[in-house]
């Protein structure tokens, strides 16, 4: 996976020319949502090179709309990161936004700091660990603070909080960092984004709050949707299981049904060693109704601080 080798080399040489820098040791990391991620040294410093690939859409019936959607994602992520100062959110790197036409495709390129560590999704899948309550509280607290930061900026909602977008780092000052704000949404007026290929609600469905799946409500979401996704992520990190028992390959219909109708497994059922207070907080944040989730940042932070 990743970009065609020639395209990557072309992008690399254009960046070196435009930014008067030397890029070396380029290694592919992952691809997702039109975005390719590489680890690279920029003037000797390791950064995460992010390349949005906007394919040739001339044959697509809504080509202009789809193109705008993808470009919008890239620019939105960069703009938000540029405004953020919270240690719980990934920071921009030395390559600021740049835009290249190569062949029929367009590429938007920028860099972020490279975080040494592993994302929670990989940890859950690969490591048989049982994190203690202190670590879980630090994780939840980091996510709540990140959600608070982006909400306070311009009422942004991340919309894609999930274990794969949370990095567990080796830095004790910022042990968990939230990544990937590409599909963030502002309650102050961003057009509601969509999956440009199938028009389904955008994001990873099994982490989505119920209100994001209901057409009459999805236009009025707020940070409490992120709380839901954060709580599901914490639940999974704590127990290794999805609270609604939704598998990775579950059909959309089943995922939607379970999200809208089934009660989550109480965390205490799977982790009897954790305190009632912590389990209740996680369970509460997974309430189907945003008005019934705790929403006061100070109250939540007070409950999570060690």
């Amino acid at each position: 996976m990743g970009l065609n080798k020639k395209v990557l080399q072309e992008i690399q040489s254009r960046i070196e020319s435009d930014f008067s820098c030397i890029i070396s040791s380029v290694q592919y990391v992952k691809t997702g949502g039109f975005k390719h991620v590489y680890k690279a040294e920029v003037n000797g410093k390791i950064e995460a090179l992010k390349i949005f690939e906007i394919p040739d859409l001339s044959q697509h019936p809504d080509s202009e709309e789809v193109r705008k959607e993808i470009v919008g994602r890239a620019l939105r992520e960069i703009n938000i990161l540029n405004d953020c100062s919270s240690p719980e959110i990934v920071k921009l790197g030395s390559i600021t936004t740049t835009d290249y036409e190569i062949g029929a495709n367009r590429y938007i390129v920028y860099s972020e700091e490279f975080l040494e560590g592993k994302d929670l999704d990989n940890i859950i899948k690969e490591e048989n660990i049982t994190p203690g309550e202190d670590e879980l509280k630090i994780l939840f607290l980091s996510l709540v603070k990140a959600i608070q930061e982006i909400w306070n900026l311009k009422q942004w909602v991340h919309r894609d909080i999930k274990p794969a977008n949370v990095m567990k780092t080796k830095d004790t000052k910022r042990p968990f960092v939230l990544l990937d704000l590409g599909i963030a949404y502002s309650a102050r007026g961003t057009r509601l984004t969509f999956n440009p290929l199938n028009r389904m609600p955008i994001g990873t469905h099994r982490y989505m709050a119920p209100e994001r799946l209901i057409p009459s409500q999805m236009h009025n979401i707020d940070y409490r949707s992120d709380f839901y996704s954060a709580a599901v992520s914490v639940f999974m990190y704590a127990s290794g299981k999805h609270p609604l028992r939704i598998g990775i390959k579950e059909q959309y219909e089943h995922t939607f049904y379970k999200t809208l109708n089934e009660l989550p497994t109480p965390l205490k059922d799977l982790r009897t060693d954790l305190s009632d207070d912590f389990c209740e907080l996680v369970d509460n944040m997974m309430n189907k109704r945003p008005a019934l989730r705790l929403s006061n940042f100070s109250l939540i932070i007070n409950r999570l601080e060690l």
Binding site: D222, L263, K288, R289, P290, A291, L292, N296
Partner: protein
């Protein structure tokens, strides 16, 4: 959970008595029923004698739409409280500026009463549905209250009135949508003074309706988990159940119109009618029965007594005694004492909401069993018709809130 006296006409020494007997924790004054001079005097007296009580003032701004009607029953509101209480039409309150002015005037009035423990911001009444112009106006009062209050530089806690009809409460989807908005305001108050309106204080089933109970519990739950203190006006016997869902306080008074909230009290009604029959609030039946019913039930050996000191006002000392008719101040003391007992004993305050709800359901089952044993035709207000709506209401609330009530 706290219990406040809902003040009304003919206060007498009821409040002092209730505080001295430790059956109430505070009082909410209503300007309709007390002159300004008397209010100031009473607040000073009470705070001097009982500094620890909470004293609040319900501005009753929700009566403002009646103020233009010649036959409206507004008591002292227009004469003594015209500094903030003025006739208003709905379209005037659609302008934010008018809302801000009314908020300012009402809270400024309360600033002049330093004996009050907190300030209650005014609001209008939402009569039919939460999807209405009145609901938008009510949300504006809630949204703007803190900002206006900060101009007064008053450090006391701020509550905002939220007054809505039982009809508005019955649509759970609209209620949740409404809650979505009011739990996410930028400058929140410290709490809410919540009023649920019946069409009439004599319609028992207006409040004892499963959807109404579920909605009322839901409001308390949603607001309390978000850190708001919720004081439920006119909550009477529903008070301890609201406590199970997170309420901070409930209120009740000595007349039927102080036990159920209804705008009916601001409207003209032909005067007259009989004095109400004195009643006994049984913690075991979770309802009031008449004093004569109490004596009849006692005489056949069924125990519905609370075992509290105020029982003495109702009990015959020997078989030759006539039925004892308690005085009005004794009746309200008995009600407060019984409610205080229920607030303290219906569930363990330290337990979690699901366990509290379970305890409420067990108490209702037990009340139902006790009713089955009573071989008498009880007065319509004394019978067991409240039990099923409370049970169903609690279960419906649990379903809406995603709460699992433990089975055993």
């Amino acid at each position: 959970m706290r219990l406040f006296a809902q003040n009304g006409f003919q206060e007498g020494k009821k409040i002092e008595n209730g505080i001295e007997k430790k059956v109430i924790d505070g009082i909410i004054y209503s300007p309709r029923d007390v002159t300004y001079t008397k209010l100031v005097e009473r607040l000073k007296e009470l705070k001097k004698r009982f500094n620890y009580i909470e004293a609040l003032f319900d501005p009753q701004f929700y009566g403002c739409f009646f103020a233009g009607a010649e036959d409206a029953k507004l008591g002292n509101l227009l004469s003594d409280y015209d500094g903030y209480f003025q006739p208003r039409r709905r379209n005037a309150l659609e302008r934010e500026k008018q809302v801000e002015e009314d908020l300012y005037a009402t809270m400024k009035f309360q600033k002049s009463l330093p004996e009050l423990s907190a300030v209650i911001a005014p609001n209008i009444y939402i009569p039919r549905t939460l999807n209405s112009i009145e609901a938008v106006i009510a949300k504006n009062f809630i949204r703007l209250a803190r900002g206006v209050y900060s101009k007064l530089k008053d450090k006391r806690p701020l509550y905002v009135t939220l007054a809505l009809s039982r009809e508005a409460l019955m649509n759970s989807e609209e209620l949740l949508e409404f809650l979505n908005e009011i739990t996410l305001i930028d400058e929140p108050p410290d709490g809410f003074y919540l009023l649920i309106g019946a069409r009439s204080t004599s319609y028992r089933t207006d409040i004892y309706n499963a959807d109404v109970i579920a909605g009322w519990l839901l409001l308390n739950y949603s607001l309390s988990i978000n850190g708001y203190k919720v004081i439920n006006g006119f909550s009477d016997i529903v008070t301890p159940f609201l406590g199970a869902s997170g309420a901070y306080a409930g209120c009740t008074g000595w007349w039927s119109n102080l036990r159920t909230f209804s705008l009916e009290r601001f409207q003209y009604r032909p005067s007259g009618g009989r004095r109400p029959v004195q009643r006994y609030l049984s913690t075991k039946l979770l309802n009031r029965i008449t004093f004569s019913e109490l004596n009849q039930i006692n005489s056949i050996g069924i125990d519905v007594l609370n075992g509290l000191s105020s029982d003495a006002y109702y009990l015959k000392t020997d078989d030759l005694d006539e039925d004892k008719i308690p005085e009005s101040n004794q009746e309200i003391e008995q009600s407060w004492e019984a409610l205080k007992e229920l607030n303290n004993s219906l569930f363990n305050m330290k337990s979690k909401v699901p366990e509290k709800l379970k305890s409420c359901l067990l108490a209702l089952d037990s009340a139902d069993d006790l009713y089955q044993k009573i071989p008498l035709q009880l007065d319509p207000k004394s019978n067991s018709e409240h039990i099923e709506p409370l049970q169903e209401g609690i279960r419906a609330f649990a379903r809406l809130a995603g709460i699992n009530i433990p089975k055993d």
